[in-house]
Symmetry: C2
Subunit: 349 residues, 2 copies
């Protein structure tokens, strides 16, 4: 199980509709009015998408408050991350984190430097400073997956100092950015440095409830842009993803409503999970929660929940975590209550 | 101008709707009923596509009459071609051909062996035999773009003999397959050899009138599959492209109608173009025609047609062709007549 969301494999083990806690998608679904926009956009399927994605990039630049020259788009955030990995000689990752960082580096036979997060899953700046070399690409989830923690603003600025001093390169994977409290915007911070040696990647996948549409985007630095563009496939974004990207970022009410909804459910779930015996739920800044199992292994828990129609994410496939961790998404209240109910049953065993 | 279909760049030079002869798309548009299928499929946007694309691959396997184990899918044919290029040490191309073969090889810093087609744009088997080395990837358009010619069956079988003897690898880009006369099916031929050292790539882009949907697929050999899979990005096909792929291959009437339509228009255009002074239209097996300009250069002709609302493809960007070639798509009768009318005006200059 390399990724969550694999309903097709597991649906046969449960008589009914599985609730997917294994992938971390906005429970409110996509913005209202999107499907009508897509229908209006059907005629665009019969032409190639604009190879330069001019309208789409302009809409993203406005949303991110970032110069359009710095915008890239891709077939999901993973496409952009993949292009970055392909152009750097050495990749540094912190464990545990999203498996694809290492997978893509392995695909290109890149040297990989693996460091660990501290025990509380915060950054180990000393280890990074000690190990990073010029031209190393450091990839960090912000918030990180599966731990759910966002880098503190002061730490991020300290880290950036190290990156510049050592002439490394920082790639922030912010695919879950909008779910987080609005403490800072890394694009606003790094814009002042003209994104020197730093790029930020985001996506429509999680927050806008559209994992099927495959739309990632990023705000990237000028320096590797030419090398980066060489790696980009032509027409990497589907015409309907292009249409969606021109619509969703304008949905301000939806964005506010989703943030507030997740905030409320995050508090609800953290409180409820905190009261369950035999597990330790870690704090989170986003829409999923990492849980340490104190009495069981992931396999047992996975099957226990599957029998109750709930698909959770086993975490031993994340390097740096053993089989005593699971991850659950924050979903709608009714689903979250079902999750808590199942945990209470577990408590009584 | 690396690719056709760039309407956004040129629409400002013409007061009205440009007719796009620069990209080669089925003029009948996508199969009837597709948009209704896509609408029914909107809810799939809120989940990740099946990471293994089981239903989609099963539908393609049935259409291609090919074992499902051999099927790969990608974000357009170019995604699959790109993955192939990334895993072979040396790439052999014949000129002129689709520019992306070389572009992708350059992106990966691969050694490129460039040979030429013969003067009549047929294969130079001797040159291939002389130059190909073990593990070389030979990429051939079949039919080739921009020349429009399909490899004769006997020549293809001879070529395959050379490939196997030399332990090279043959990648056939058959993105325009369905437009061609049904003289042979390379998948049927190579199935008997278990696709040993050969793979065939096709796409929904051209024939099914869906360049915006980004759906390529291929029938690939067992040997590099594991290496190939390592390069594949997860969820490379958009959820609606997945839906489309499960629908369009069942549209038998549409397929027949499109073939017959293109056959008729091909005969019409070849005959009409053959009667125009100052150009030489080459024979074609597919839905586009390469034209040698005997009196003008591509730039002059491009602007001449643009002023009349017709966007054609300049060909000097194809290595192996100079600025005395253009390519035009075969479109609907009304558009084709406009094209001929413009050529007649040109004749009178």
């Amino acid at each position: 199980m390399k990724h969550g969301g694999d309903l097709i494999t597991y649906e046969k083990y449960y008589d009914g509709d599985l609730i997917d806690f294994s992938s971390n998608i906005n429970p409110l679904g996509p913005p209202k009015g999107l499907y009508e926009e897509l229908i209006k956009g059907f005629p665009t399927l019969t032409s190639y998408p604009d190879i330069k994605y001019r309208h789409l990039k302009s809409s993203i630049a406005k949303y991110l408050k970032c110069p359009i020259e710095n915008i890239v788009v891709g077939n999901g955030a993973v496409d952009i991350i993949n292009n970055f990995i392909s152009i750097f000689p050495r990749i540094m990752v912190l464990l545990p984190s999203f498996l694809e960082y290492e997978q893509r580096a392995l695909a290109y036979d890149k040297e990989i430097i693996r460091l660990n997060y501290k025990e509380d899953f915060t950054l180990d700046l000393e280890a990074i400073e000690k190990n990073i070399r010029p031209r190393d690409l450091l990839i960090l989830g912000n918030p990180n997956n599966p731990t759910g923690l966002r880098i503190h603003k002061d730490i991020l600025i300290k880290l950036y100092g190290i990156i510049r001093k050592k002439n490394g390169y920082l790639l922030l994977d912010e695919a879950f950015y909008e779910f987080c409290p609005e403490d800072y915007d890394s694009i606003e911070i790094f814009k002042e440095y003209s994104f020197d040696n730093v790029s930020i990647i985001r996506a429509a996948t999680k927050f806008f409830g559209l994992p099927g549409i495959r739309l990632g985007y990023g705000c990237i630095s000028e320096k590797p842009i030419r090398e980066y563009e060489k790696m980009e496939l032509p027409w990497s974004v589907n015409a309907l993803a292009d249409i969606a990207g021109r619509y969703i970022f304008e949905c301000k009410d939806y964005i506010e409503e989703s943030r507030a909804y997740i905030e409320k459910e995050r508090q609800f779930l953290l409180k409820e999970l905190g009261a369950i015996d035999g597990i330790k739920a870690f704090n989170t800044h986003t829409n999923y929660i990492l849980i340490k199992l104190l009495k069981w292994n992931e396999e047992y828990i996975f099957n226990f929940f599957l029998k109750r129609g709930l698909l959770i994410r086993k975490c031993s496939s994340f390097n740096g975590l053993d089989d005593s961790y699971i991850r659950v998404a924050i979903k709608d209240r009714k689903s979250n209550e079902k999750l808590i109910k199942a945990f209470r049953e577990l408590e009584r065993i």
